[in-house]
C-alpha cells in the first residue's frame, strides 16, 4: 500500500490521475477527428492501455487517498475514476468521500449500480449513509441483511443528525462480567474480523447492562484465570444516543478516548463511538463554522453544478443584501449633510471598515468561548469590561491616525476632530455589538457562528455611519 502522507504527494496523485485522464481524452479526440474505421482499433487499444495504467495506480492507493482524488476532480473525470474503482472498493470509497461528493456519485448511478455498491457494505456502513440513499434502494438492500442488522439500521435511522446515536456503530466486542480473561481472549480470537479502534471490550451483565470496560492491555497484563469483573475498569466515560455529537467529541478530547460505550436510559449497552468518527466530526464541524462565518449555508462540492452553488450561497447573500439596504437607508438619512460636505462620503467607509473589524474580532473570540462552554453569567461582566477597555485603547490610537489622515486631505480641523471621535465611539459600540451578537444568537437557540459575521458587520456599519454622519450634522453643518 502506497501511503502518501504529505499534501504535495496528494497533489501529485491528483495531477497524475488528471494527466492519464487527459491523455486518454486527447487520444479520443484525435481518433474521432480522423474517423477512419481502422483507427477505432487503435483508440480502443490506447484507451485500454491508459485505463490499465490508471487502474494499476488506483489499485495501489489507499481508499482514503482515492476519496481525496475524487473530491479534487471535476464531475466527469470523477465519474471516470469512480468506474475504475467501484467494483472492488466502491463501498469503502463511498463512505470516505465528503457528503457533497457522495451525493454527486449516488446521483450518477442507476438503481442497479447503486445496489451493487451497497452490497459491499455491512449494516453499520449503511447506517452511516442511509439518510442520503433513495428510500426504495435502501429498502431493497435491507432485505438481504440479517434481522439483527436490519433492526440496528432502522433504530439508528431514528437518531437525529449531530447526535451520538447518529455516529455510533454496532461493531464492538462484548464479554460478560462472569467470564474469565481467558474466555474474553478466546472470544476475540473467534472473531473473523476485529472492529476498528478496538482498544477495549465492553463488559455487560446477563441483561445487557454495561458494567465496565476491559482494555486489551488489562487482558494482556493479568493472569488469564482472573474474572473479568475483578479487573475491569468501572469508572467509564459513556454516552447516551441523544447526546450532542459536538459535546461527545469534546469529551473524547478531554478524556483522551479511543472508543467509548453508548448506553440507553436503562444502562443497556447499545453501541460504540470511536475516535476516527469523532475526528471526522470535529473536522467537519469546524470547517462548517468557517464556511458559515463566510456566509455559506453548508459544505459545497468544489465542482458542484453552478445551480447547486447558487442555492448554497443564496441565503446569506440575500440576508447580506437586506442588511446592505438598511445600511444604505441609514446613510440616506444624512443625504442633506453629505450634499453640503462631500468629503464625508469619502471618509465614511473608514469608520465602517474599522468598526466591522473590531466587531468581528470580538465576535470570533466570543464564539470560540461559547463553543467551549466558557461563558457564564458571572464572567460576562469581566468580559464586557475587558473588551470595552481594549476598544477604548485601540480607538484612541486609531482615532488619532484617522484624524491626521482626514486633516492631510481636507485641512479641516473640525472634520478631523469629528472623524477621530466618531472612530473612538464606533469602536466601543462595535466591541459591545461583537460581544452581544453571538451571545444573543446562542440565547435564542441558534448556532452563535451562523451569520454572526453578517449581523455584526451590518450593525457596526449602520452604527458607524450613524455616529459619524450624526456628529458631522451636529458640528460641521
Amino acid at each position: 500500500m502506497e501511503a502518501p502522507k504529505t499534501q504535495d504527494k496528494l497533489r501529485e496523485n491528483i495531477e497524475l490521475v488528471q494527466d492519464l485522464l487527459s491523455k486518454q481524452k486527447l487520444v479520443e479526440s484525435i481518433v474521432h477527428g480522423a474517423q477512419a474505421p481502422k483507427q477505432e482499433l487503435v483508440e480502443s487499444l490506447v484507451h485500454r492501455q491508459h485505463l490499465a495504467e490508471l487502474q494499476t495506480k488506483l489499485s495501489r492507493m489507499h481508499v482514503g487517498d482515492i476519496a481525496h482524488i475524487l473530491e479534487a476532480l471535476p464531475l466527469d473525470d470523477r465519474l471516470t475514476i469512480w468506474q475504475q474503482v467501484k467494483d472492488r472498493r466502491g463501498g469503502d470509497i463511498l463512505l470516505e468521500v465528503s457528503d457533497a461528493v457522495r451525493e454527486s456519485i449516488i446521483e450518477s448511478l442507476s438503481q442497479e449500480e447503486l445496489l451493487s455498491v451497497l452490497e459491499q457494505m455491512d449494516g453499520d456502513d449503511l447506517a452511516f449513509i442511509a439518510d442520503e440513499l433513495p428510500q426504495q434502494v435502501l429498502e431493497q438492500r435491507l432485505q438481504s441483511l440479517t434481522a439483527e442488522d436490519q433492526s440496528w439500521l432502522r433504530d439508528s435511522l431514528k437518531y437525529e443528525e449531530d447526535t451520538v446515536g447518529d455516529l455510533m456503530s454496532n461493531e464492538m466486542v462484548v464479554v460478560h462480567d462472569t467470564d474469565t480473561l481467558a474466555e474474553a481472549a478466546l472470544k476475540l480470537r473467534g472473531l473473523d474480523e476485529l472492529p476498528i479502534h478496538n482498544d477495549k471490550l465492553f463488559v455487560v451483565d446477563r441483561r445487557g447492562i454495561l458494567k465496565g470496560v476491559l482494555s486489551l492491555q488489562t487482558i494482556l497484563l493479568n493472569e488469564p484465570e482472573l474474572s473479568v469483573a475483578k479487573v475491569m475498569a468501572t469508572d467509564v466515560v459513556k454516552f447516551a444516543p441523544d447526546d450532542d455529537a459536538s459535546e461527545a467529541s469534546k469529551a473524547f478530547e478531554r478524556y483522551d478516548l479511543v472508543s467509548a460505550p453508548v448506553v440507553n436510559t436503562r444502562g443497556k449497552l447499545i453501541g460504540r463511538l470511536t475516535v476516527d468518527v469523532v475526528m471526522d466530526y470535529i473536522r467537519d464541524e469546524t470547517e462548517e463554522d468557517v464556511l458559515n462565518m463566510a456566509g455559506l449555508s453548508g459544505e459545497e462540492d468544489l465542482f458542484a453544478p453552478v445551480l447547486d452553488s447558487v442555492r448554497n450561497r443564496g441565503f446569506w447573500l440575500i440576508i447580506n443584501l437586506i442588511a446592505a439596504f438598511i445600511v444604505s437607508r441609514v446613510i440616506g438619512l444624512f443625504e442633506g449633510t453629505i450634499a453640503q460636505l462631500v468629503s464625508l462620503a469619502v471618509l465614511m467607509p473608514i469608520v465602517a471598515a474599522v468598526g466591522g473589524n473590531i466587531g468581528n474580532q470580538t465576535a470570533a473570540l466570543i464564539i470560540r468561548a461559547l463553543t467551549k462552554g466558557q461563558i457564564s453569567s458571572q464572567n460576562t461582566f469581566h468580559l464586557v469590561r475587558k473588551e470595552v477597555g481594549v476598544s477604548i485603547l485601540n480607538g484612541v490610537m486609531l482615532g488619532v491616525v484617522v484624524a491626521l489622515f482626514a486633516y492631510l486631505f481636507y485641512q479641516n480641523t473640525a472634520l478631523a476632530l469629528v472623524i477621530g471621535i466618531a472612530m473612538l465611539l464606533t469602536m466601543i459600540v462595535a466591541a459591545i455589538i461583537g460581544l452581544s451578537v453571538p451571545i444573543l444568537l446562542e440565547k435564542t437557540g441558534h448556532d452563535p457562528a451562523l451569520g454572526s459575521s453578517i449581523i455584526t458587520t451590518a450593525t457596526t456599519d449602520s452604527m458607524g455611519f450613524l455616529i459619524f454622519l450624526g456628529l458631522a450634522t451636529m458640528f460641521l453643518i
Copy 2:
C-alpha cells in the same frame, strides 16, 4: 471521578466554582468592614470552610475539567483555584490548559513554585511546554532528569513548531524482531506504567531501525511462541520529525491511526505520535484559522490583560486601516461625481457589501480546498469557470433587485441601470478576487487563511466603488 460530558454540566462546574469563590470574597469584605478582632477568627473559619468545599469539589474533577474551569475564570479567580490544585495535580493541569492560560499561570509563579510544579512532570511532558518556560528554571529542572530524558528533551527542543518532532513523545513500548510474542507480552507486564494510546508496540532490529509494528490484538490473537517478526505488520504509516504536523494530522484522519512511529532519515525509531496530541493539534489549528480570518494574530486568553489583547489585535487592525485608507482614496477620485449626485454615496455601500460577501464566500471555499490539497494546476480552470458562472447568475438576480431598490428611492432609471450593471460586474470581479487571493497567498508561501478576508474585502470594496462610481461618472454626469 465525576466526568461531566456536556457543555451545560461544564458551565455548571464553572458557575459552582465562581459561586464558592464569590461567597468567600463576600465573607472577606463583610469581615474586613467590621474590623473587630474576633471577626478574624470567624473569617478564617468561614474562609477555610469554603476553601475546603472548593477543595473537595476540585479533587473529584478530571484534570481536563479543571483546565477548562481555569480557562473560563478571570485572572485573580484563576490563580485562587490554581493554588488549590497545584500541589497534587499542577503538572498535569499545566499541560492541559491552553497556551495563553498557561502563560498567565507561569507568569504568576515564583521560580521555586514553578520548579516544584515542574518536578511533577516527566521529560516528555516538559518537552511539551519547554519553549514556554524561563530558560533558567528549565535548566535547573533538567539537572534532575536522567541522562536519557535530558538528551531527549534537548533534541526535541530543536524541532520547529508545527512539526511532527515538536509533537512526538518518547513514551513507547519497543520490542525486538527476534523476540517471541510471549517475550513481548512479558515486556508489557514489566512496565510500571503503560503509555497512553498504546495500541501497538514498535518492532526494531538490533540497530534500532524500525522493522514493523505489533498491535496488542496481534499479541492476543496469536500463539505466544510465535516470533514477533512473523506476525508484525510491515506496511506502517510512519513519520519523520521534520514532517509538517498539519499533514501528519491529516494522515491520522485518512488512515484512522491511534499511534504511529516517528523515524529519522536512517529509519531509526526516535519517537511516537498519538491521536490525542493530533486531535488537540487539529482543534488548535482550525480555531487559529477562524481567529486569523477574523483578524486576530493568535489565540487569546479570554481574560488576557487589556494591553496583551491590544497587541494581539493591533496588527490586522492597522492593515485593515491602511486598506480602508486606500478604499477611501478610490472614492476620493470621484468626489466631483458624488457632489453632483449624492444618491451615489447612499447607494455605494450596497455594491461594496455584496461584492465583499461574494469574494469571501469564494475565498472560504478555496482556502478549504487548498488546505486539503485539492487545488492542482489542471483543475483551476474548471474552478474559475464555475465561480464566474455562479457569480453571473447571482449577479443578474441581485442586480435586478438592487436596481429596483434604487429606482424605488430615486425614481431615476439611468441610476437604477448603472447600479444594476455595477452589481453584476462587481460580483464577477469579486469571485475572481476571492479565488485569486488565497491561491496567491499560498503560492508566495503564506498561509492562505491569514489575512485573506481583509485583503479580499479591501480589494472587492475598491473594485466595487471604482466600477459603480466610474460607470456613474460616464453615464450619469
